[in-house]
Amino acid sequence: MNSEAKKTIWKNYQKEIADDNYFYLRSCVRQNFFPGAEPTFLRIMKEELQKDIYEDPGHTTCTGIGYHTDIVPFETTMTIVARQFALMTSHGYKNLVPSCITSFGLYSEVIDTWNHHPEILKRIRQNLKKATGREFEIPKNLAHSSDIIYKFRKEIAAKAKYKLINSNTGEPLKVVEHIGCHYSKMFPSKGVGGAEYPYVLVGMIESWGGELIDYPERRHCCGFGFRQYLVQANRGFTFACTKKKFESMEPYKPDMIITNCPGCPMFLDKGQYAISELEGKTYGQDGMGIPVFTFEEVAGLIMGYDPWDIGLQVHQISVEPLLNKMGINYDPEKKYLGINGKYLGKPVSPNVLKTCC
């Protein structure tokens, strides 16, 4: 297949993404590790795109991590998912937008199971009614929050203050993308570009001026593996996977990494620190790391939002080299301030990995 054909084959793997009136479900992982990402997404949705997006304070975990560590039975998980659907139904919404890839994969799996086994759907309706009195409709449209940003990537580009372009050379930034296993490996038709030609992040990269790096281990797991990370004795698995990815992308000298799933950026960010401490190896320029971002953070950056408003100070890998390449105007002195200018002190420097301040 010629390279032009490869670039366009993803177009065979399209999905329907609703254009307004969304019911939003937060991610447990994203809220803990990247607490500025979801407020950035909602700011773009409401202030830049003028979309209706609703959140119910009573929504909860989908139990996804409990389910994939096998402590929570599928029957329980399906009923908790049904409760999330019931909240959506009770507010008159039909378009479900989870912020988490594990949740997105799980909702896809639950709906698929109900399609194959109507008797299970009937039983889950009874479970939910009995336990909570609630009733639900299955969402008409299920899209991950990145799907929404993908859908409106050109509108965002039209309003953007910055591009994924090196402001000194005028060259596109070289970008690694990582969509996360549960976005489309289980149900390829539910992800933009499927599992083979993932396009949800590529579309953002291309529309915002960057250049995709298609490296060998692009689709390999970040290393989470649920129980493989959560238990200390198993973490060799996690960082063996992370290292495999970094060794594979290193020759392409990426300027940045953009991610889809809330957990993957944590592993790709903290994993670079762990590898540097364990083996003395770093992957970025001058002993630093390759900056890792969530898709919400990248969208916020190109919109010109203050990097410290959107939470980039919580990354272990310094983001400043990327901000400087993009020509972003920011105040380095404000990185470690709390609200009302309260100085919080600086983190300790790692032993091997260089940080810029």
Partner: protein
């Protein structure tokens, strides 16, 4: 037809995950766990489809079924629409149901996961709730995590979270009535029963090993299952 096999077939994960395996090994080729551990999803799939109860019991008591990371890369690649990752989920469920999980080092870790992830779900409504979870147990989180832990609420407020607050927002306090619904669902659908089984069989194993176990997370047995690795798991 064996009794353990019959029990497995009642699990929708097995119904969805096992059609007819042709032993091509594509799942093993793509599997991140097979690259790292002494682990072969093709072999497990074949063991189950051969319906050999003796070998299934061996699997249920082994470390082997706990090596999978549930990334589900196998689902994408299998040319016959099997999903070894789902077969693993059925095996893990049965291993816990029968109390066999405490017979392996990796299986015994379920108690730690139940008490952390399970505890957070029931007590906070989130599956992770990380204020106070420091770099002592998670050194890979690095100095930025120490800084965040020291200034948890300040950083949350700075980036627009609503930490422990009323209403909507990042890590808001999930209302008590919502938490009650979650607990009622856990009771009605078997999660509490599984949790009790994990506790009961773990207590029995701790006693057998002569280790102290109480309802806190800093006792000898919990520390042991969290950190011990006999170094015989990995692919050489």
């Amino acid at each position: 037809m064996g009794k353990l096999y019959d029990k497995l077939t009642q699990d929708v994960h097995l119904q969805e995950g096992l059609k007819a395996c042709i032993n091509c090994g594509t799942c093993t080729a793509i599997c991140p766990a097979a690259e790292f551990y002494n682990y072969d999803p093709r072999e497990i799939t074949n063991t189950i489809q051969l319906r050999d109860d003796e070998k299934i019991e061996e699997l249920l008591k082994s470390d082997t079924i706990w090596y999978c990371g549930e990334c589900m890369s196998c689902k994408t690649r299998c040319p016959r629409e099997n999903t070894p990752g789902q077969i693993i989920m059925a095996l893990r469920a049965l291993s816990q149901e029968l109390g066999y999980f405490t017979e392996s080092e990796k299986g015994r870790q379920q108690l730690y996961i139940k008490r952390t992830i399970g505890g957070w779900i029931l007590n906070t409504g989130y599956c992770l709730y990380l204020e106070g979870v420091g770099t002592d147990g998670h050194p890979e989180q690095g100095p930025i995590w120490d800084w965040r832990q020291k200034h948890w609420s300040d950083v949350m407020a700075r980036v627009g979270a609503n930490y422990k607050g009323k209403g909507t927002g990042v890590l808001r306090k999930i209302p008590d009535e919502a938490l009650k619904e979650i607990r009622d669902i856990f009771e009605a659908t078997g999660a509490n029963e599984r949790f009790e089984k994990i506790e009961k069989h773990s207590a029995k194993k701790a006693k057998e090993l002569g280790m102290k176990l109480d309802d806190k997370n800093n006792n000898e047995y919990i520390k042991h299952i969290f950190s011990v690795n006999n170094n015989h798991h990995n692919k050489k």
